[in-house]
């Protein structure tokens, strides 16, 4: 008997759904928006700004943020990302820009999708509650001719959910720990903001 496939999350953007399919294809486990990192507080210590990376890849201990916005609209996200890296230096995060995603689709011969998925004026992200216990994406068995899965990482824990301690992202724990310690610095952040911007050209 096989375990039921976890329900697919409701992706905020079609590009996220496409990336999830790509990760599934290459047997890379993922969780969709499992963690929210506070990055700005007001003088009362209340969180006034946070950042929820789109994906967490537990086997790689890596967050992935996918943005298909036009470059001029990416600045706000770049600022948030820079702030996240300042506050949580141990958190590994990769930002996929529109050009990165375009190149990925080009590599897979899926360029026709580019216009559908990228270059929009903004990701239509409705207000949503972050589901901290949302199941990870499926990690089905490798479809190979002669597979020896015993030694593969995915085989060791193929059906774990993000709530499992073994897969709990470091960032979630560290984020909670850091919140108190970073409160003073964050007041400055909330007032002045981090204005340094990573303005990579988007050809």
């Amino acid at each position: 008997m096989t375990a039921p496939t976890p329900p697919r999350p409701s992706f905020a953007h079609a590009s996220e759904a496409e990336l999830a399919r790509i990760l599934d294809f290459y047997d890379v486990r993922w969780a969709y928006e499992p963690d929210t990192f506070p990055i700005g507080w007001n003088l009362d210590g209340d969180v006034v700004e946070s950042f929820s990376p789109d994906f967490y890849l537990p086997d790689l201990e890596l967050y992935v943020e996918l943005t298909t916005l036009k470059q001029k609209l990416v600045r706000k996200k770049n600022r948030k990302l820079r702030r996240l890296r300042e506050l949580y230096p141990d958190v590994r995060i990769k930002l996929f820009y529109a050009r990165d995603f375009r190149a990925l689709l080009l590599k897979f011969g899926r360029l026709a999708l580019v216009d559908e998925l990228t270059g929009t004026t903004g990701q239509a992200t409705p207000p949503r509650t972050i589901a901290m216990n949302e199941p990870l994406g499926p990690a089905p068995a490798l479809a190979t001719l002669d597979i020896e899965r015993a030694a593969t990482p995915a085989a060791e824990a193929p059906e774990l959910a993000s709530g499992d301690p073994a897969l709990t992202p470091r960032g979630r724990r560290r984020g909670r720990r850091r919140r108190g310690r970073m409160a003073d610095a964050a007041v400055v952040t909330a007032a002045g903001g981090a204005t340094e911007v990573d303005d990579r050209p988007n050809p």
Partner: protein
């Protein structure tokens, strides 16, 4: 797709000349031969893009060695949803258990395919497993995997030639070049 009949005409800039590639392959061969001196080696190449590199590299390694070839399916979006997973289209033809294995790749960008292959090959219990790539595009890296031998680190551009293709074309170019965007950009 607006590919022309003139393959070389579709290339914007030549990134690596035939001579530069040959010199680098010879250099890689010397390094690999030194590192594996006194041992035998199994080179595993991934079809189809790595073929020219594999063919040239193995002739630059004066050690007892054998070669093997693998082919894996590539992501195709909706067309692959029925299977949903990368598949081994051609598996190894012999065991690599207790062998020193060098995985030979043409290019590493996201690292997704390499990550899958490394996990798969480690499951075959080789004595050692190292990775050699002619081209490395680190700007595209999603999965970080240590690469032992890198020929060239290249910029974030779509390159073809010397085994690398776009739509199964351009593999037979002797150099590595940047494909003109108009070739893969749909005409309005």
């Amino acid at each position: 797709m607006t590919r022309t009949a003139d393959l070389q005409g579709d290339i914007g800039d030549i990134l690596l000349t035939e001579e530069e590639i040959a010199a680098k392959v010879a250099e890689l061969g010397r390094r690999i031969a030194a590192d594996y001196a006194g041992r035998s080696l199994t080179l595993v190449s991934v079809l189809k893009g790595s073929l020219p590199f594999m063919a040239d590299l193995m002739r630059q390694i004066p050690l007892p060695l054998r070669i093997d070839l693998m082919e894996v399916s590539s992501y195709g979006g909706a067309a692959t949803e029925s299977s949903g997973l990368v598949r081994i289209l051609k598996d190894l033809s012999a065991s690599i258990a207790d062998e020193d294995v060098l995985l030979v790749e043409d290019i590493i960008d996201t690292g997704l395919t390499l990550n899958y292959l490394v996990r798969y090959l480690r499951g075959k219990n080789p004595a050692s497993l190292r990775i050699c790539t002619l081209l490395d595009k680190p700007a595209r890296r999603l999965v970080d995997i240590p690469v032992d031998y890198v020929g060239f680190e290249i910029p974030d551009q779509f390159v073809v030639g010397y085994g690398l293709d776009y739509g199964e074309q351009y593999r037979n170019l002797r150099f590595v070049g940047v494909l003109r965007p108009e070739v893969y950009t749909p005409a309005d």
